[in-house]
Amino acid sequence: MAKISSIADLKKFQEDYKAKQATKKEKIVVNVSLATCSIASGGKTVLAAMQDEAAKLGISNVEFVKSGCMTYCHSEPTVVVTLPGKESVCFGNLDETGARELVQKYLKNGEVAGTVIPVNYVRVEL
């Protein structure tokens, strides 16, 4: 951990972070919504099931991110999966079975399974 003691430090950190993110491009990133409401509707079960299934299938180049609210209360629990070189896809209404199926089909073979939630927003990136 580096203390940020000047604006130069911050810029340096941002560069390093960017470089680190670039190396992640080869990885599958699974972003799991874990706000209060997502957890209440089973987000932690989904995360555990996906981690377990990925391990079982020997999918090792996957990184799980625990993030906050994805705003889709109508379809919780939700996860966003980014396969290397592909657009992110948001899957909703998952449960233990659905989560395992998602790993077997989408993470393993890129075959879309379950409920896909269309992105209906533009995110402002700084």
């Binding site: 940020i4 911050l10 919504s33």
Partner: protein, 489 residues
């Protein structure tokens, strides 16, 4: 499937994208850059000016221009000033602030520090309700991490600027979201509001200049400073800039959190984003501003949502709760529901709010139970206007809004309740009759068997009859009938 991208996410830009418990994720998306730029290369005055130019208005509901508020506090000379984040989110069905605190706590921490620099405060306090344990946990971690990384605490980035944040927990009283009551509660007194002036920006927490801003207001600040006030003020309407986060709840297909540019029409929110009412039901109204707001109907479908247009429609922006109602909702009953809430939550300090709410509720109860008269309408209106004019704080002043708004927009529904003794939506049980349609009834006896008070009689294979005097209107027979022969009238 390609859908129209009607939402624009500024305040919730990081929610669901970054790990809220990892400060590096936040730093990686240009987090703390606004603060760094402010304290190393700008002046407090320039920051206040930039926020003023952005046109940002308070997202907690009142809509006061944030930059002007900061300016008042900045101009005051005092030995100590405070930055307070109001995270006492209490509107029924609203959870925007919780989502931001759980999904992107650092944006609030950063913005509070920026505010501290702009007004000359070294202490920040987040007043957060104790019912938000996960938000509290993540916020605490964010504050600890920020300290460890040197972007919070003493001598931030070697500039000599000190700013630290502590948490204070609210016990869940609705009135404590009102800034003066919030300050009282923070000081350890009863959460009761006091008369303004003095405004908190002049004399607030411990009688020192205090800025109280809502979570969502703060979450906008880093984006405004990084991308510029010109960018922010190009979004929205003439007098309401930027976006607003709403919590869509109730009878709506796509319940959830949405962030839309100011000026979007109600129609776009309810139908394009919300997907309309589920089950093919007709959209009837939407309550904005929670228990302090009013109902908008299909007639208002083209209203552009911003602070001023909602006020002109006898509603208000509020903190962002949007409760959608369909054809099965009785508007008198809804007004009673919201009043029931405010009646519970009134602190009792001033008479108009304490007793007025009770009397208003009693009149509504009279109407929904079939005892109302047309004379009650005038009495209610006069009482409601009096409460608005004389109550001490925002809670009381806005509490009659749901009543006035529904009386205004759904006058015919109120009339049906008192003149015809009918509830058109079929909700108010005292005004309902459950009847069996003889032409449809085949005499299967199912209804008679399910009736808990045995008030249905009839011979097998002959039409049955309900004894209205004994019926408790539970509707069990309606659910059981396989021939749609039982209806509410």
């Amino acid at each position: 499937m390609e859908v129209a991208k009607k939402q624009l996410r500024i305040a919730t830009r990081n929610c669901g994208f970054i790990d809220p418990e990892n400060i590096e994720d936040y730093l990686g998306v240009r987090g703390y850059e606004a603060l760094a730029n402010a304290i190393t290369a700008s002046t407090p005055l320039a920051i206040v000016d930039e926020i003023k130019k952005s046109g940002l208005r308070g997202r907690g509901g009142g809509g006061f221009p944030t930059g002007n508020k900061w300016e008042f506090a900045a101009k005051n000379v005092a030995e100590q000033k405070y930055v307070v984040c109001n995270a006492d989110e209490g509107d029924p069905g609203a959870f925007m602030d919780r989502a931001v605190l759980e999904g992107d706590p650092h944006s609030v921490v950063e913005a509070m520090a920026v505010c501290g620099y702009a007004i000359g405060a070294s202490i920040g306090v987040v007043y957060i309700r104790a019912e938000y344990p996960l938000a509290i946990k993540r916020l605490k971690k964010a504050i600890d991490d920020a300290r460890a990384y040197g972007v919070l605490g003493n001598n931030i980035m070697g500039t000599g600027f000190n700013f630290d944040i502590e948490l204070k927990y609210g016990a869940g009283a609705f009135v404590c979201g009102e800034e003066t009551a919030l300050i009282r509660s923070m000081e350890g007194s009863r959460g009761e509001p006091y008369t303004k002036p003095p405004f908190p920006a002049n004399a607030g927490y411990w009688k020192m200049p205090t800025i109280v801003n809502n979570v969502e207001t703060f979450a906008n600040i880093p984006a405004i400073l990084v991308k510029g006030s010109g960018w922010f003020s190009s979004i929205g309407t003439e007098r309401s800039k930027g976006t607003k986060v709403f919590a869509l709840a109730g009878k709506i297909t796509n319940t959830g959190l949405i962030e839309v540019p100011m000026g979007i029409t109600l129609k776009e929110v309810i139908f394009d984003i919300g997907g309309g009412c589920p089950g093919g039901k007709q959209f009837k109204a939407v309550q904005t501003g929670g228990p302090s707001g009013g109902a908008l109907t299909f007639k208002d479908a083209d209203v552009q949502i911003d602070y001023d247009n909602l006020l002109a429609k006898n509603s208000m922006m509020g903190s962002g709760g949007m409760i959608v109602m369909d054809e099965d909702t009785c508007m008198v009953d809804i007004a009673k529901f919201f009043l029931d809430f405010t009646m519970d939550e009134t602190c009792g300090k001033c008479t108009p709010c304490r007793i007025g709410s009770k009397r208003l509720w009693e009149t509504l109860d009279k109407i929904t139970s079939g005892q109302g008269t047309e004379a009650d309408f005038e009495k209610m209106k006069s009482l409601a206007v009096n409460i608005k004019d004389t109550a001490l704080c925002g809670l009381g002043q806005t509490m009659p809004n749901p009543v006035l708004s529904t009386m205004n927009t759904f006058a015919d529904e109120y009339l049906s309740h008192v003149r015809d003794k009918k509830c058109p939506a079929g909700v108010c049980s005292n005004l309902l009759e459950i009847v069996i349609l003889p032409e449809k009834c085949v005499g299967c006896t199912l209804c008679a068997r399910v009736c808990p008070v045995n008030c249905i009689s009839g011979k097998v294979k002959e039409a049955h009859v309900i004894d209205q005097a004994a019926c408790i209107k539970c509707g069990a027979c309606i659910d059981k009938c396989k021939f749609d022969a039982i209806v509410k009238k």
